[in-house]
């Protein structure tokens, strides 16, 4: 039994090591921060050399990139998209709007913290974060995956009631 456990652990470790080199992102571009993605992907900063490529459907993607403020209408779609993705999946909060509401702190329509509603693995601070910061965020995520610490999707399953309660509270507005 013990041998099997060690084998399984080793297997997962090797897989994680390979997995971090191939991350497909779904860029949920609803806000201004998304404008920093084209330079990140194209020739100046070239995210593809880390195996990070933009993808278009939720079924195929690993990273959900929430680029900016979320309001109630977008939250609904965001949750649908997140639940359609296949685990292991990761969420990156992009820009200060996902952290504390940013310049929309007092708004009636904009939600302040993303991680109340979805498990966020990495936050990229800044309004808006530069491509260097975005790449740094990707590198951090890769490191977390390699160490087996990017477990947002597990947290979502374990604390499903908590997240659902938070989501319902907002969506009932």
């Amino acid at each position: 039994m013990e041998l099997q456990e060690t084998l399984e652990e080793g297997y997962v470790e090797i897989l994680d090591h390979l997995r971090k080199r191939s991350l497909w992102m779904l860029h949920y571009c609803t806000a201004c921060g998304a404008i920093e993605l084209p330079p990140t992907i194209t020739s100046r900063f070239d995210a593809e050399r880390f195996g990070i490529a933009p993808f278009v459907t939720s079924r195929q993607s690993d990273i959900l990139l929430v680029t900016g403020y979320i309001n109630i209408k977008t939250l609904k779609r965001l949750i649908t998209v997140y639940e359609q993705m296949l685990p292991p999946k990761y969420v990156i909060g992009f820009g200060s709007c996902t952290i504390n509401g940013g310049i929309y702190w007092d708004s009636y329509a904009v939600l302040k913290r993303l991680d109340l509603y979805l498990p966020v693995d990495v936050y990229i601070a800044g309004c808006m974060p530069s491509p260097m910061a975005v790449l740094e965020g990707f590198r951090t995520l890769m490191k977390l995956i390699d160490e087996g610490k990017a477990n947002g999707w597990k947290k979502y399953i374990e604390n499903y009631d908590y997240y659902k309660a938070n989501q319902r509270k907002v969506l009932k507005w």
């Binding site: 191939s22 079924r59 296949l86």
Partner: protein, 295 residues
């Protein structure tokens, strides 16, 4: 015994060559964009990641079977292609049978994606099958020109008859051009990538596929890349005396294809079919005429 072993190993070989060609293509596209580009083995990493996904979402039995049919048909097609120095499935590798089996994969894919019920998938399939209607015509005319020239449908003989720089590329340039455009269309490169078109139909048939399904599809695609380039090599580039030259010639085909692929935009589906039925078909018919006159 050795023959059986070769038979079993051929699809594996085709898969790895396909992965290499794909990786090379991605690197080359990146270099044309003035980027550094992903490592050569990036497609392999993608496949490993997809196969290691924890869950799978299914939309029914046919949905699961679609990728399996694609991979199975690709493996079967590989076994019908001659390799230099090795015996494959039939001693008389038959061009006609090959042309038949080559489309089974796309049909399986269509059946599978159709069950997902996603409108993008249906549009993608309609486009893929319409496109097939387009490129099959010049491809078959070009293939039959060679049959007329050599009086045989044996692909292995095609290779031996072209040895020593009697390449069809030099002796039947018109047919070779038509064949190239048709194979290029079959690969679904720009401007004929109408059915994947991420910006319009969100990768078309693949839209509902993820995880292990998509991994299988990518394995199938790698083998398909091998098949298309090997097919062109066998028909027009004179086959090869050994495996290394074979792979090098395939690499040449991929390089030329990528040069076009990187710079061209996308056709609309009706334009693509009109294009296929006009230019490559006329060129192929001219080539056929020349062979017919020349005896």
């Amino acid at each position: 015994m050795v023959e059986k072993l070769v038979l079993v190993l051929t699809p594996v070989f085709a898969f790895f060559v396909g992965i290499f060609l794909e990786g090379f293509k991605r690197k080359m596209v990146a270099r044309i964009h003035r980027r550094y580009g992903p490592p050569l083995h990036q497609p392999l990493l993608d496949i490993i990641k997809l196969l290691s996904k924890k869950e799978n979402i299914s939309h029914g039995v046919m949905f699961d079977l679609g990728p399996v049919i694609l991979v199975g048909a690709s493996i079967l097609t590989v076994l019908f292609l001659p390799l230099p120095g090795f015996k494959q499935l039939t001693p008389h590798g038959d061009l006609i049978a090959f042309l038949y089996i080559m489309v089974i994969g796309s049909l399986g894919m269509a059946l599978g994606a159709g069950e997902s019920g996603n409108p993008n998938a249906s549009i993608g399939i309609a486009r893929a099958l319409t496109l097939m209607l387009g490129y099959e015509l010049p491809l078959i005319i070009a293939g039959n020109t060679l049959v007329l020239k050599y009086g045989t449908t044996d692909l292995t003989k095609f290779m031996t008859l072209q040895s020593g720089f009697h390449w069809n590329l030099f002796f039947l340039p018109l047919t070779a051009i038509a064949g190239f455009i048709a194979t290029y269309g079959a690969m679904g490169e720009h401007p004929f990538d109408i059915f994947v078109a991420p910006q319009e139909v969100a990768t078309g048939p693949m839209v509902e596929y993820g995880g292990k399904h998509l991994g299988l599809l990518m394995i199938g695609h790698a083998i398909q890349v091998y098949i298309e380039t090997a097919f062109f090599t066998v028909l027009f580039l004179g086959g090869a005396a050994n495996i290394l030259t074979f792979i090098l010639k395939q690499l040449g085909v991929i390089i030329v294809m990528t040069l076009f692929d990187t710079v061209l935009p996308r056709f609309k589906i009706e334009n693509a079919v009109r294009y296929f039925w006009r230019w490559p078909t006329i060129i192929a018919l001219l080539g056929l005429f020349i062979v017919y006159i020349g005896g």
